[in-house]
């Protein structure tokens, strides 16, 4: 049971890393908290659902389409909302209010448009049946979702550390003032980071029906809590720390389900409280921030 929880947790955790990555990127670059992140994941799931049922598109094909589409849609959203927010004196605090409102609007409109019933994609649309990983049997759909998450995180890492745009992004994350003084266009970097954050949320949403059983318009708030926990555990503001946060959350959840199943729901709260009490910068905070 322990080995199964550990193996399953690692696979599950890769997905949770993807779940929190976009949230952390947006915070890292702009120091704002996108409380609508969970609802964007839900919209990604709905997009995948309709692409499959109306156009017969496999989730693997839907993934780049949804991510690309969400990136493009995020740019006008950024232009409409973010510049004024970022110009405010208390942008970080005001972002809670702004994105909480956006989250409520998205949830209400989704409930009206799609109805409250659960929706999912058949496992065969990705991969049905079990697969043996690390000596343990896990659903193939988990393995595929985790693989996509690892690829997305890998591409994100490469772009952040081996491209000019990534260099600028890291400069803004380290010090927006110094980055601006060096001639970096803060607004452009912020817009792209916001777009990427939304795209990563959409991508995570495509695989949500496989990892979370089913999706409903009301799922956004609980996903926010999980995403926030993975971000804080890793290191708030350091996107790559989210990978570690996701793995800790995934393994922790399955261990809780194995040994304290009734209390498994408490895990995100327990992780948040423990991190805030004992290591507020996150488990990888110092090293990543120095780097």
């Amino acid at each position: 049971m322990l080995l199964h929880a550990l193996a399953g947790g690692l696979v599950y955790g890769c997905y949770f890393a993807l779940l929190g990555l976009g949230l952390n990127l947006v915070f890292g670059v702009m120091r704002i908290v996108n409380l609508a992140h969970g609802d964007l994941i839900m919209l990604g799931a709905m997009a995948a659902y309709f692409l499959y049922h109306l156009a017969g598109l496999s989730p693997l094909w839907a993934a780049p389409l949804v991510a690309g589409g969400f990136f493009l849609l995020a740019l006008p959203l950024y232009a409409a909302l973010l510049p004024r927010l970022l110009a405010a004196r208390e942008a970080e605090m005001l972002s809670f209010t702004l994105f909480f409102g956006l989250q409520q609007i998205i949830e209400a409109l989704a409930a009206i448009a799609f109805g409250p019933s659960e929706r999912s994609l058949p496992a065969r649309s990705l991969a049905a049946g079990p697969i043996v990983l690390l000596g343990q049997s896990v659903p193939k759909s988990w393995a595929f979702s985790a693989l996509v998450a690892v690829i997305a995180i890998g591409l994100f890492y490469l772009s952040l550390h081996h491209t000019r745009l990534g260099l600028f992004t890291r400069a803004v994350m380290a010090s927006p003032e110094e980055a601006a003084a060096s001639g970096i266009d803060l607004s452009r970097i912020s817009a792209i980071a916001f777009g990427l954050g939304v795209a990563l949320a959409g991508l995570a949403g495509v695989f949500a029906p496989f990892m979370l059983g089913s999706v409903t318009p009301a799922m956004g708030a609980s996903l926010n809590l999980v995403a926030f926990a993975t971000v804080v555990v890793g290191s708030l503001g350091a996107p790559l720390g989210t990978i570690f946060g996701g793995l800790v959350y995934g393994v922790g959840l399955l261990l809780m389900q194995t040994y304290f199943s009734t209390w498994a729901d408490l895990l995100p709260d327990l992780l948040l409280i423990a991190i805030l009490l004992f290591r507020p910068s996150g488990l990888l905070g110092r090293r990543l921030r120095v780097a």
Binding site: G115, P116, P130, P139, G213, Q257, S261, T262
Partner: protein, 286 residues
């Protein structure tokens, strides 16, 4: 003031000193699983179902059902043994590790009690896990059959035991619409809203019927008169859900749901109690 409770079945809602609530459209959770425990105790040993795993979501609805089942199955002289007994948060959306842990206890029958989202996740994870059990009972396939069929597919429901509600019984009501009439009216009114026609839609209709009948029998709208009027229907009113019957504390004890099993084509057949059964239970690898 009197609270007309459509489907809130938690046992804690009802007590003898609380005359302010009446449950209208489904049985209180402590008696709801009566046919289930009778099936397990009476038919289980004959079918080779002696080792029982109980997995439930920890809310009033399913938690109370789990408590009632546990009490019945652990009664002195019980021919069955509970080998796994765990509650999970209602928000649980991943059952893979739990299924693996259940398999480690080697049960013959797995009883999973959850809300719609729980049951979808459980049955999908069961399909993908590769684990097989002799028999599996899940709560919601018989309650919101359309939703479960869309999310789990008939291949995932084949062989699953569940409650058979008014959706699968087509009872003849003495008041209100028939099942076919209600389904037609529902689809006409709500067909495009994304809310599937299921047992909860029937419960809403039955609630309206009981309130209508109660108002017709009430002398005044005062709490005591309304309660007296509702109680005057107890044991007499035949609804789409079955016979409406109240216990002294306002809990509904009629409208019980038989036990059924899905066949490979997605049809739900009643297997218990014998007087209502139209099929024999099939025990195999679910």
């Amino acid at each position: 003031m009197l609270l007309f409770d459509p489907t809130g079945t938690g046992a804690a809602f009802f007590s003898k000193d609380n005359p302010y609530i009446v449950l209208l459209a489904d049985p209180v959770s402590s008696v709801w699983p009566r046919y289930l425990w009778e099936f397990v105790l009476n038919e289980g040993p004959k079918l080779g179902l002696k080792r029982i795993a109980l997995l439930y979501a920890t809310n009033d609805f399913t938690g109370t059902q789990a408590n009632a089942l546990r009490t019945a199955l652990k009664a002195p002289g019980s021919p069955v043994e509970i080998v796994f007994d765990e509650g999970v948060p209602t928000s649980t959306s991943n059952y893979t590790v739990l299924i693996d842990n259940i398999a480690a206890a080697n049960p013959d029958l797995v009883i999973e009690l959850g809300y719609t989202g729980n049951d979808i996740a459980f049955l999908r994870n069961l399909q993908d896990s590769g684990q097989k059990f002799k028999a599996v009972f899940a709560l919601y396939p018989g309650i919101e059959t359309n939703v479960l069929m869309k999310n789990v597919d008939k291949s995932g429901l084949a062989g699953i035991f569940t409650y058979v509600t008014a959706l699968g019984l087509d009872l003849k009501p003495e008041a209100g619409l028939s099942l076919a009439e209600l389904r037609e009216a529902y689809e006409k009114a709500y067909g495009n809203t994304g809310v599937e026609f299921g047992w909860n839609a029937i419960a809403g209709h039955v609630t309206g019927i009981v309130i209508t009948e109660a108002l017709a029998h009430a002398d005044t709208l005062a709490q005591e008169d309304l309660r007296k009027a509702v109680f005057s229907l107890s044991g007499k009113l035949k609804t789409l859900d079955g016979t409406f019957e109240l216990r002294e504390d306002g809990a509904q004890i009629g409208e019980l749901t038989p036990i059924g099993q899905f066949d490979a084509e997605g049809n739900l057949r009643v297997v218990y109690p014998p007087e209502l059964a139209n099929a024999k239970p099939v025990i195999g690898q679910t």
